[in-house]
Symmetry: C2
Amino acid sequence: MSSVPASRGDHTRDAIIRAATDVFGRVGYDAASTRAISQAAGTNQALISYHFGGKEGLYQAVIDGIAAEMEDSLVPVLDEIQTAMPMRGRSAVEAMLSLFSALMGQFNRVEASGWSRIIAREQQDPTAAFEIIYNRYMSRVLDTLSALIAGASGDALAEQAARTRAILMMGQILVFIFSREAARRFLGWTNLEDGIPEDVFRELKSMVYAQFPEPRP
Amino acid sequence: MSSVPASRGDHTRDAIIRAATDVFGRVGYDAASTRAISQAAGTNQALISYHFGGKEGLYQAVIDGIAAEMEDSLVPVLDEIQTAMPMRGRSAVEAMLSLFSALMGQFNRVEASGWSRIIAREQQDPTAAFEIIYNRYMSRVLDTLSALIAGASGDALAEQAARTRAILMMGQILVFIFSREAARRFLGWTNLEDGIPEDVFRELKSMVYAQFPEPRP
DNA sequence: CGAATTTGATTAAACGATTGATTAACTTGG
DNA sequence: CCAAGTTAATCAATCGTTTAATCAAATTCG
């Protein structure tokens, strides 16, 4: 990332951000004390104010890091789809499924870190940090998805309708982040650490295919 | 609700619960101070400990009230579907849509109160309170929904597959609760207070119909 | 080149403010 | 009159932040 070799301060900065991501994710912003964060980072408490200006500044830095990393990991997939646009029919559906697959894979990694809870919280309480995540990530995914939906429908869908369906389909994936505990119980998952079981993607695939039936040749 | 006329204590009890539901929903459990809650309720701070044993007991009471009210409002719909079971084909799809309609209507009311944020938070941090909501509400909805999906598919779906699809379809509705801010922006909603616009339900309906195509007679 | 100095980073300690909870005195209604 | 309900005051604990002193590593300079 950084061109210059990490100095002493940069090292502790990273350590604090890493620890803060974990603590914020586990207990939330308010319950996360600067003492607990600095202890988890193995640094002094005062360094939070020194490096980030305060607890709020540290939180912003955490959000910034999450958005940047999620963006980086998804940009290749989005770009690949974008260059192949406009797509129609079957190819649009296939692109849609590859996007879903990438999202699920990413969400598994997101789950492994403490990110999912932070993101979910931001959805409920859109602080200034939400702006970053939405502008740099969500809006791009939704834009691409709605374009694919329109293409897969043979452009027979009004723009607002396509966007609405993009949200609806996105919900099918997001549910495993925002409602993971209910999903875990209802589907009888025991070891969620391994990520979303692949039979979920199999069902999702079937549903998508049913949604955009292949035109008879 | 209560058979006996409300005594003096019951009145303030209700006032505290009402205020606590609002404050917990707006700022979360940790940031909600007992002073802020009691002030919003127009009562003395010590009455929280007196009536509920403490902040945690008050939170449990809030969750209990939410679960009870949500249960009450949905039981009629679920019962109606249950008595008509087993359903197949078209009738199962129609029942599914009526369930979705009821859920969306309920979520609009949930949104109007401070409930949605409390529920969403519980999904992320499943405290003991989640147990109540899941057992008394979510599991019932998901059971009914998966039965309808199996029926609409002509019972050609394995049980686990039907349950998986129930979660996926539930996500299409829950997304407007858990990810409402992103949905609001992407769809350009300005006045979310009026509830989810009905064109969302129209698209959802189309997607459900496409999902379970009517067999040719 | 090596000593002196400046700068950034880190530390322990303390700050005032706010937290949830408790106490003891006081009202009120049955 | 008494038990249930309510009140203001206070408790110790914890919160985020600030302070002054110390450390380490560049930087400057003789």
